[in-house]
């Protein structure tokens, strides 16, 4: 029905932004784990060979080295596939980065089920739950090109640790010319509505927008919130959604247990309970491409529409 939107690989704007930042600030360095190609850092390495520290396939050392570089006054961006960064180096992230409060920017590349056919060892669906358990670690999930560029720039300029996800497969723009596209610590209400709220993150935002259009055709007014910052949670915006609409749907490319859905549910149940549906990936995936797996786990506009209908039916 709708024309195919132009789509963008967020890794490209991520790398471009890092290069721009590195030109402005000699303290910006990159630490990676044999991931120059997969993180799209070839140009950065060619321009700043001394400032790209590739530790090889050694994630614990990678995060520890980054903590040391931060101690030495640098602003390291750790660029590594999200499953290995957050899984293999979890204790280094906890102790050396978050507890020590070092100025390390953890960039989880190719998160969620981006690695499709490579299977659950390479999927990063637990990362948000793991990172969310850490005290006061900002978690940022840019949904498109504009948000990625602004979030990376924000991370470089704030002092302290950050975890952000940088998507692999192409996604359409959802910021729709808004400026700024990314506001730190704020949820972005990109469509207003009064019947149901869809809170989506990252790659799911464009699908939530499509779902809202379908619901509108049925006479259902759906609010869409792009939750580009999961921690700290924009509780004012979530509370408004709970009070002003009848139900909340969350959609994420990760486990809902402790993930984005869990975060919203924890807040809603203690402050203004409303019917909720948490949509995510709550089991190890079968074989298939990322596109197939999003369908398989019901992370589509049609499934979001069905969830909205179901919630509103019960809500009556």
């Amino acid at each position: 029905m709708s024309k195919k939107l132009e789509e963008f690989d967020n890794r490209i704007i991520f790398a471009k932004t890092l290069i721009a930042l590195a030109n402005e600030d000699s303290k910006i360095v990159v630490v990676c784990n044999d991931s120059v190609g997969s993180s799209n850092l070839t140009e950065f390495r060619d321009l700043f060979p001394e400032r790209l520290i590739d530790v090889g396939i050694a994630e614990q050392n990678m995060v520890g080295v980054a903590a040391g570089l931060a101690n030495a006054g640098f602003t390291p961006f750790v660029c590594a596939a999200a499953p290995f960064l957050t899984g293999r180096a979890l204790e280094q992230i906890k102790a050396d980065v978050v507890y020590t409060r070092t100025n390390v920017k953890l960039c989880g590349m190719s998160p969620g089920i981006a690695y499709g056919e490579l299977g659950p060892t390479h999927h990063s669906i637990e990362d948000i739950a793991w990172m969310r358990a850490l005290d006061s670690l900002p978690i940022v999930l840019p949904a498109d090109e504009a948000q990625t560029a602004e979030a990376v720039r924000w991370a470089a300029n704030m002092v302290g640790p950050v975890f952000m996800r940088i998507g692999r497969y192409k996604v359409p723009s959802v910021s729709q010319g808004q400026s700024p596209a990314f506001i730190p610590n704020k949820a972005m209400r990109i469509i207003d509505g009064s019947d149901v709220t869809i809170i989506a993150t990252g790659t799911l935002v464009s699908r939530a927008v499509a779902a809202a259009a379908e619901l509108k055709a049925e006479g259902i007014s759906a609010r869409v919130i792009n939750l580009s910052t999961v921690s700290p949670l924009d509780t004012a915006e979530i509370l408004a959604a709970a009070k002003e609409t009848k139900a909340i749907i969350t959609a994420e490319e990760s486990v809902t247990r402790g993930g984005v859905g869990g975060a919203i549910a924890e807040f809603v149940v203690q402050n203004h309970p409303v019917p909720m549906k948490l949509m995510g990936i709550d089991s190890f995936a079968p074989t298939g491409s990322a596109t197939f797996l999003l369908e398989y786990f019901g992370l589509t506009a049609d499934s979001i529409v069905a969830s909205a209908r179901e919630l509103l039916k019960h809500g009556k």
């Binding site: 614990q60 040391g68 570089l69 030495a72 640098f74 280094q92």
Partner: protein
């Protein structure tokens, strides 16, 4: 070098460790005493650090990877003027800045929040690379327990430091031969430790970890590679009934043992 000054500092550190652990009713006295002479040499004659400006950018970095020897580090830092010696009395008390493991954000002179083993070495590799990028002459030192070398992360760091030929990095192994429950040789043999490091591209220096002159030389001689100083130490060093006894890993002395230990330390 004034070894008299270093030995006086070491004696004072041991006395503060004894007071602090007795008062708190907890601590890792065996490992604190084995690492004391290494800390005294570093803080007494090697490190470029300023207690009045603990975060000056070009300072040398000392990362205590064996974070359970926190009381030894706290005592050293207090005696060198990073914070009042009086504060040691708060160790492990509710809401004290002096936790069972060191916290950089609460204790001046601490570089990283260590405790889980195998963390300090990669951090020191990072500070050493940072100093090379900044070209500020800062040197990096990491102190590890020997049992800690069973953690794989250390070998990731050793391999990378060797690859980068970090001549501003020194790893000191407090080679007291014991881990929590038993000798390292019985649990998971580390030797030949020197050959392991050599094969990773390091220069190796084996010294008596209680000999200030030998330690000073090993910690200050010019380097052509990253250097490991395997400091052969005695767990519980300085108090005869604690020396070489596994049970003194984290035992607290009784009133009689405390008096006897104090007497021995005072006479050194």
């Amino acid at each position: 070098m004034n070894t008299r000054g270093i030995s006086d500092l070491a004696r004072e550190i041991r006395i503060q460790i004894l007071h602090t652990i007795k008062s708190a009713g907890m601590g890792h006295i065996g490992g604190d005493f084995s690492v004391t002479d290494i800390l005294a040499t570093l803080f007494g004659s090697v490190l470029n650090v300023d207690p009045k400006n603990p975060n000056k950018p070009d300072r040398d970095r000392l990362i205590l990877s064996k974070g359970h020897a926190a009381v030894a580090l706290y005592s050293t830092l207090a005696l060198r003027g990073f914070f009042p010696v009086e504060d040691l009395k708060t160790f492990a008390k509710p809401l004290s800045n002096l936790n069972g493991h060191p916290n950089r954000n609460k204790v001046p002179g601490v570089e990283s929040n260590t405790g889980p083993l195998g963390h300090g070495f990669p951090i020191a590799v990072g500070t050493a690379i940072g100093a090379q990028l900044a070209k500020n002459g800062s040197r990096s030192f990491v102190i590890m327990g020997d049992g800690e070398l069973q953690e794989g992360s250390n070998w990731e760091a050793a391999m990378f430091a060797g690859h980068r030929k970090l001549t501003n990095l020194i790893a000191v192994i407090d080679r007291n031969g014991f881990q929590q429950g038993s000798p390292t040789a019985k649990t998971n043999e580390l030797d030949p430790l020197d050959k392991k490091f050599e094969s990773f591209g390091w220069e190796v220096c084996i010294v008596n970890g209680h000999d200030y002159l030998a330690l000073h030389k090993a910690l200050t001689d010019p380097q052509t590679k990253p250097r490991v100083v395997i400091a052969q130490t005695t767990k519980g060093k300085g108090v005869d009934f604690m020396e070489g006894k596994a049970e003194w890993h984290h035992k607290v002395p009784t009133a009689e043992q405390y008096e006897a230990a104090l007497l021995q330390l005072g006479q050194q």
